[in-house]
Symmetry: C2
Subunit: 338 residues, 2 copies
């Protein structure tokens, strides 16, 4: 492999639109960025059939055959252990053996989270690797950390999330001195559940992050913090409600627009402007959610990902490697240990 490339192990068979949209996204990514190589992992016949549709630098997409597919309904642990020749396991092993820098998949969330820990492995000192999607806000993006599958976190987990999230926002998203807040039900330090009350003073004592205190869920969409720290159950609720409520409200707006002849005419006039504004609130603009704290980058994109989101998820990985995020995480956690 070329020495200056970011190499992506792409799970070509994961997700609702695999392999067509996944491969389309990969081709687009290599056509957009010269310093990317993709290892497209999965059933080679199916992948080659898709690749044949496009023009691209064939030296930068390599097909790696894997005969099995992990389905969303399968038990993650069992699937990872038994389907050794699945696209997900083979692709993750490419990261584990340093044949690839990053893993990208739209496949089963559970399997990605379990595989990330069992196959790619945690950075020494990381207690729990968090899944950290970027969510759109009124004035940019915030990192919601953790939205993973491991719930009932301990205060020390949340402190590590805050640190890893800060590094990600600063070096990948480019937010200087990112504001870190903990999700709470009030602004005051004495508010909250047992976990938040115990975590709050620990975060306050961290000298290496810019902790600004509690954030109420109401203020998340306003963009009042860059790194939003919470336990995974709460993070999951926030993420899913963000998606569901956005869709329902926009549905209501559309319903309103179609309700009379007058409003239909108006709708034609506002369509381009509205589309442009709402684009900033769409998930596929931002690529996938990284699973941080592993010996290599694991990125999960939506199960419903289309080519565009796959492309963005792949491109996102370049800065991850260039900025040596893992080294920075190791450093920060080691400082803490001293």
């Amino acid at each position: 492999m070329g020495k200056d490339y970011t190499i992506i192990a792409l799970d070509a068979m994961g997700g609702d639109n695999a392999p067509a949209e996944i491969i389309k996204g990969a081709v687009k990514a290599v056509n957009l960025k010269e310093d990317i190589k993709v290892l497209a992992v999965g059933i080679s016949e199916a992948i080659n059939k898709e690749l044949a549709k496009y023009e691209y630098d064939t030296s930068r997409i390599e097909v790696v055959h894997a005969s099995e597919i992990i389905e969303t309904e399968e038990s993650p642990v069992k699937a990872i252990r038994t389907k050794k020749d699945s696209s997900l396991v083979v692709a993750m092993n490419l990261v584990k053996t340093h044949m690839a820098d990053a893993f990208v998949s739209a496949g089963s969330s559970g399997a990605i989270l379990v595989g990330g820990q069992l196959l790619v492995g945690r950075i020494k000192g990381v207690e729990r690797p968090p899944l950290a999607p970027l969510i759109p806000t009124a004035n940019g993006l915030s990192l919601l950390i953790d939205c993973g599958a491991n719930v009932d976190a301990r205060p020390s987990h949340l402190v590590q999330f805050a640190k890893m999230g800060s590094i990600y926002m600063e070096y990948i998203v480019g937010v200087k001195n990112p504001r870190v807040a903990i999700v709470n039900i009030g602004a005051e330090e004495e508010k909250g559940n047992a976990l938040v009350k115990e975590t709050f003073p620990l975060l306050k004592n961290c000298t290496d992050i810019n902790f600004i205190g509690s954030i109420e869920a109401r203020d998340i969409p306003s963009g009042n913090a860059d790194v939003i720290v919470c336990e995974a159950f709460v993070g999951n609720v926030i993420l899913k409600l963000y998606e569901g409520l956005g869709a329902t409200l926009l549905g209501k707006v559309k319903e309103g627009l179609m309700s009379s002849l007058r409003s239909k005419l108006g709708a034609l006039l506002i369509k381009p402007a509205l589309k442009e504004t709402l684009k900033t609130f769409q998930a596929d603009e931002y690529g996938g959610a990284p699973l941080l704290g592993l010996n290599g980058l694991v990125v999960k994109t939506h199960g419903s990902s289309k080519a565009k989101e796959v492309t963005n998820s792949i491109i996102q990985c370049i800065s991850f490697r260039e900025q040596k995020i893992n080294e920075k995480i190791k450093e920060k956690l080691l400082i803490e240990d001293k």
Copy 2:
């Protein structure tokens, strides 16, 4: 007092717009409904000044003087204990002594929750009184129970929430055999945090509610369940995010509409239709959130309530009394004990 009236003890001094909007809302309520009497509690001079502005049946609004006011920043427990002549405490005591059927306030949430328990008191058998606002969905309203201040609930609390919420939705909102779901991070029974995993089988075994299983936050705005059971920290996050994200998204839509001359023209055409559709998503249409399980009804409305929300909150109390909700709650919880 007349025997056929629902009597409301109204905290005239609580909320950002007190007493003007509170009194305006009370006048509107008695003008709309003949079977309501309001005891307007607070500084009589200020209340009378507001009342003088309106035409109404003066026999149905009585001013009860209370010299003190509880502010939002005060410690709830201390405020309830020391400000014995505050509008909130005096009004709650009217419910406690059965001089009034219901208490309505836009004042300090903390003080209302504490006062409800300390002054009005719990129904025997109720472990924890939940705060249960109605939230708008794509096809109606759902009850989000619990959004109160007492977090870290036990499974038995959630089971009682499910039962009380069912009664409220069936008899107050008029939903036959309401679908009860527990907020979770996946649809399967084995998913969730420790609390949800422990509560799920208990709910499944309840023969007196229509338990439909888990609901992911994504499906709440679609209206997939009528009673949405969760621990208060999670409920608070859902409620606040609902409000915050709604406001941010509508702000984005408006921004889009104002971005060009073309879209401005379109905006004029769509305005009436859009307003009508989005009305169903506005909090002030639904009145306040009841604090269930007390010896009397306690209703909390938004701190920012205007007259309309106050009116709706007051009117809401009629069915609560007519339907004998407290008797029904007692009955259901007693059945459980056998």
